[in-house]
Amino acid sequence: MSRDLSYDAVMARRGEIMKKALGLEYDEFILSDIAFDYEGMMERAGYSLEEVRQIQQQAGVGNTPLLELKNITQLVRQTSKKGYGARILLKDEAANPSGSFKDRRAAVSVYHAKKLGYPGVLAATSGNYGAAVASQANMANLGCIIVQEVFDSHHIGQPEIIEKSRKCEAYGAEVIQLTVGPELFYVSLILLEETGYFNASLYSPFAISGVETLGYELVEQTRSRYGKDPAYVVVTHAGGGNVTGTARGVRKAGAKSKIIGASVDLTGLHMASDNDFNKKSFTTGHTGFGVPFATWPDRTDVPKNAARPLRYLDRYVLVTQGEVFYVTEALAQVEGLERGPAGNTSLAAAIALARELPEDEIVVVQETEYTGAGKHPQAQLDFARKNGVEVIRGEPKQNVPGKVIAIPEHFSQLSFTEMDIDRMRTSYIRNAVTRNNVTKVTQDELEFLAEDTNSTLEFVSSVLGSLGVQF
């Protein structure tokens, strides 16, 4: 039987392909164009925290060390007003089998695929998740295909992504390396149809429930060692799963810690642009994912995204590329931990955030990732220079994405830019209305929008009013 593989024909079959590849009926959770039963989906389709803990334990995932960054904390206090500078703790997620917190997501997805009898797993990702899925697939004796966006039209790729391809291939996965463009999804659909593999989406309830243990563990560890909960939990934010899963775990542990998302500011660079592709020195943890995924989560490869960061973000802050490289160097040089770079986005933000708090408070940075050839500040900065980006020592405000990377001249310069979350909430509501072509919103939908943006009925009503939508 020959299938029509044209772009339009494959995209038209996406619903049926996805249904088969996820083994999950989303229809039962969908209440209307706008509203769906999020908690129902997480409870009935995902796994409980206890089940996830067992699955991950079997797969060698989780229970990572929580390290106190004593020297960095001291530097924070030296650059804070007297009596300020919270203790900074770092969850060393690089200790997971493939070197990042993504093993938590992969472990649950792969377990689920195995349980349902799929012959293999496929993930479309240029990030650490590829290696995580490949590693977990090996433990479960499943086939594995990773689809990555690697090159520009001159066949040039960021060293960081080339390394991520290599790592997947080291695990024996089939790696499909593509040039830049959202058709990564189209290629994935063709492969899912051809192989009958499970779609190990980053955004399924299984994957997100896998991250909950991270939030739960960090609260347990902080409590047992310091007798209190973290004031802030700082999370590198890209697609939203890290924020969502961690926050759910923190809440399940009963902690009221503020959940603060942090991304690298890449404002102005288009994510699907062939020209801009290699002007970025970060391939994840940046605003190119962080903002669109927060303001419209349902843009992914699943009918309803289980990663819904606006539900959980108390604050969202941006740091510059130069600051993250500086902090990556600091972590290696004064803490003896060579990690990142991209995973250190939250650490860069945490340093400035810790200055807001008294010394007896605690800030937890909830991840690290492995470092390797290519995945390293030297490799990334060298590549940036070769692509015409200027690298200087200077103040963070001198950074211009795609043009200038300013490495801070002094620790005291580390700072962040606060994003206006209400503006992001407004943008989400606008997207929910316009993308679904809705002119009238029911009471249930109004309530869903308030819940999904962690706002109030009044807030949603006022935004809908300004959009001319009836409710």
Binding site: N71, I162, E183, Y186, G374, H376, A379, D382
Partner: protein, 101 residues
């Protein structure tokens, strides 16, 4: 690197997935002008020559056809040269920590 492969050798092939005119309507203008290309590695099903078509069996056991690009492909990415803007940060921070002792 050899210009030819024998049957069963580990190779890399290339093919065009979508021509410039076939791309998603959502891609930016610069991306619309170029094709969507793919590289994948596997074991050659026959002998072949770089630049000529060849079929491979991939690790996921699929048969894929493309142009032979490399035989026994390796990796050349590295940790990069020293970057002067980074090299003094460690000393600067250690000096700060000492000041406070």
């Amino acid at each position: 690197m050899s210009n030819t492969c024998k049957q069963g050798e580990w190779v890399e092939i290339h093919y065009v997935v979508l021509l410039a005119g076939e791309r998603s309507p959502d891609v930016p203008e610069d991306t619309k002008k170029v094709p969507l290309e793919c590289w994948v590695k596997g074991w050659a099903l026959s002998s072949g020559t770089v630049g000529e078509p060849v079929e491979i069996r991939t690790p996921a056991n699929r048969v894929v056809k493309g142009t032979l690009i490399r035989v026994n492909p390796g990796y050349t990415h590295s940790f990069g040269p020293s970057v002067p803007e980074l090299s003094s940060i460690g000393q600067e921070l250690r000096a700060m920590l000492k000041e406070d002792d």
